[in-house]
Symmetry: C2
Subunit: 478 residues, 2 copies
Amino acid sequence: MTADPFVVIGGDAAGLSAASKCKREDPDREVVVFERGRWVSYAHCGTPYYVKGEVADLTDLLSLSPEAAADRGIDLRREHEVTGIDTDERAVTVRGPDGDRHDQPYDDLLVATGGRALTDPIEGADLAGAFSLHGMDDAAAIRAALEPAGEATVESLGGGDFLDPTVIEPYADWQPPETVAIVGGGYVGVEMAEAFTAHGLDVHVFQRGDHVLGPFGEAVGERVEAELRDRGVTLHLGETVERLVGDERVERLACAGGTALDVDLALVGVGIQPNVSLLADTPVELGDSGAVAVDDYGRTSADGVYAAGDCAEARHAVTGAFDWVPLGLTANRAGRAIGQTVAGDPKQTGDIAGTAVVKAFDQECGRTGIVDHERAEAAGFDPVSETVTTRSRSGYYPGAAETVVTLTADRETGRLLGGTIVGTDRAAVRIDTVATALEADMTVAEVETLDLAYAPPFSPVWDPVLTAAKVLNGSLAD
Amino acid sequence: MTADPFVVIGGDAAGLSAASKCKREDPDREVVVFERGRWVSYAHCGTPYYVKGEVADLTDLLSLSPEAAADRGIDLRREHEVTGIDTDERAVTVRGPDGDRHDQPYDDLLVATGGRALTDPIEGADLAGAFSLHGMDDAAAIRAALEPAGEATVESLGGGDFLDPTVIEPYADWQPPETVAIVGGGYVGVEMAEAFTAHGLDVHVFQRGDHVLGPFGEAVGERVEAELRDRGVTLHLGETVERLVGDERVERLACAGGTALDVDLALVGVGIQPNVSLLADTPVELGDSGAVAVDDYGRTSADGVYAAGDCAEARHAVTGAFDWVPLGLTANRAGRAIGQTVAGDPKQTGDIAGTAVVKAFDQECGRTGIVDHERAEAAGFDPVSETVTTRSRSGYYPGAAETVVTLTADRETGRLLGGTIVGTDRAAVRIDTVATALEADMTVAEVETLDLAYAPPFSPVWDPVLTAAKVLNGSLAD
């Protein structure tokens, strides 16, 4: 008896990683991937740099073409939307590009439906000229809106045969905007501030909280704010945007406290949520986060159904509990592991540490683990943090730049819980040292005696991470 | 009864770190540091960049001035050479600047006598114009030899009141050299090739082995060799330099195989050895390496006698055995720990992993742990290595540079043993991820699932280290 296929819902990072790995390990296994859009396997994190203009063609962001997927033996069907899952019958209902529906049986099923941009509760976020940046079509639309009237075409945008011309049509006769409001000072907000500035726009960032890049903590936030201001970006901190206003297109932004601004364009980047509506009538359970609950192998509560990527939870290395941290590597890694598991060689998807880096003009920012004290306390820790400002290189060596490191540890055990870093000189990649130490359950005392690299062009004798560990270890001893 | 002082022999990284920490923890303790030269606490690793001209003054390399040491309550005596140690009487014999000798009792003694440059077995290495680079006086002498006749003065070299004018006098009327031979393609050789090239010299590097930077392995060596050649440096690999020849000063270099070269200057950088001659008639035991044997607290075989820095061994994180890897951080860290121990709060000096980084023009090189298979086998491992060439950033992002990572693991246990990296874009600091994983005794499978940072400007989705782990893990499974 031949098994029914391994069916994958979603042709992006998690879905195609799983499909590729499964076919590599078990070439005889039939693998079918349904992707509701035209785009597959693209670098989501690259879209701000496409809008900025540093990446010429939208198709440059593709990491696996449909042809390459076919070469791997994957039956990839674009513009096929899965509209229902029957876990008893082990079949999904699929609507094809012509609107016809059919049922596809599966033996194993991977839900890799990703996330979608939040726009709630901002009124008017559906006005023309109000964008989110979640996916390639959004990126194309924003770029089209930045071009002089009549200049943006599928070809000029490098959309290949993936970009539906109707995505950019609404902006065909728009003149380039002068003022843009970015709602939300998270990753997308900060990266897009850089992108819009590169186009010469007057950029305003509205952030509800006191600091941008909230998950990176105050020390990073403050430095990034200084950088944004230096680059001419206007920050509106502590402002809750209530609505975008306009007739046919967005013309004005209004905050809860009365602040208002005339704008030509708005970008709403207030976060994403897991795309799980497809699971509403299935026995596949969601976790507390609202994303799909899984075990260490990515298995959901329904037999033969896996979930991975931005729609799924993963186990957090610090708390040991399942959590939802939608990031690119997590999706790729979990997809790949599930592909191997489905092929008959079970592999855990791996813990997450919430490690993330972001570029804010010249500031490189990194974070990992748990740095927020409330969150640490909720997980049962007694957090202590120290922030140090050191140099990236020996002080006498040209190019030594201020580097700010915050480390957080548990007072009782001394265990490292998390850390952040910010600086202009090789700061971001240094967070990997902290992430590795976290995942190894190291104490701060152990981190303090790590034999890290030293040479004047790259680091002071005591690496910034070691200096932070030394200071934090001192505090723990008090 | 008041204890006798804590006496430190050697006023550099280990010695002054110990003295400073002891005074900080126990301000009432008398701490006496004897330094036979004029210089104290300088950045040895910065000297090539001084010679290059990127660091203006030699005194910029000082990390603690004698005045600052005095402010910390340290009794620092420069130009005081310890000529004998009596471990029964707990006293050292000291010769002061005027030649007078006196005895100084100690309660605790730290031997921090450092290392010295090897010149054996090269004949003629004592000729004028044949230099080593070990210490500030060497750096000053080389810079003086590069300057036009009559231009080098203590003031122009930024020697402050530390530089003895007699150090540079021999080069006062020399004309700038045109051709320089560097004997040895290790750290010093590679860094000095860059320094001499910056002065417009015709630079020749002679390396006995097949590759430069031997401890970094072949993959790094080959890439650095390409870089050196690109920059106009002539490499003579597999050549054993036998002698330097000249009347009053070096004029010619001759190799065992018959190769010869007319030169104006020679730099011999074939390694260092621990400075332990002072211990010859004492019961302080040396290890197999020839450096001082110590325990995890830096204690030698003689009661109350510690050793740290380039003259001492340290425990290796991978083998668990004591080894000699003279590096700056090790010296600072061990000194600091011993200072704390002497002050009554015992602290281990910490394991070493042999983590090192070096800049070769634009190539950043890193290494950690054990990468040499013979050495791994000698330590009881069954080593397997894989080398991958990846990119430093997402492929579509500007500035993505080839990055070559080699990881080595033990076949049976999968334990990570070591790694190397080379590349032009943020490569060096990535070795810290490998070093941290090593010290945490991680397996390659654990490294493969580390949640490392990803953002297009800083890393591909799979960090180069993760890609290498993935490939090596695959090999281990074969």
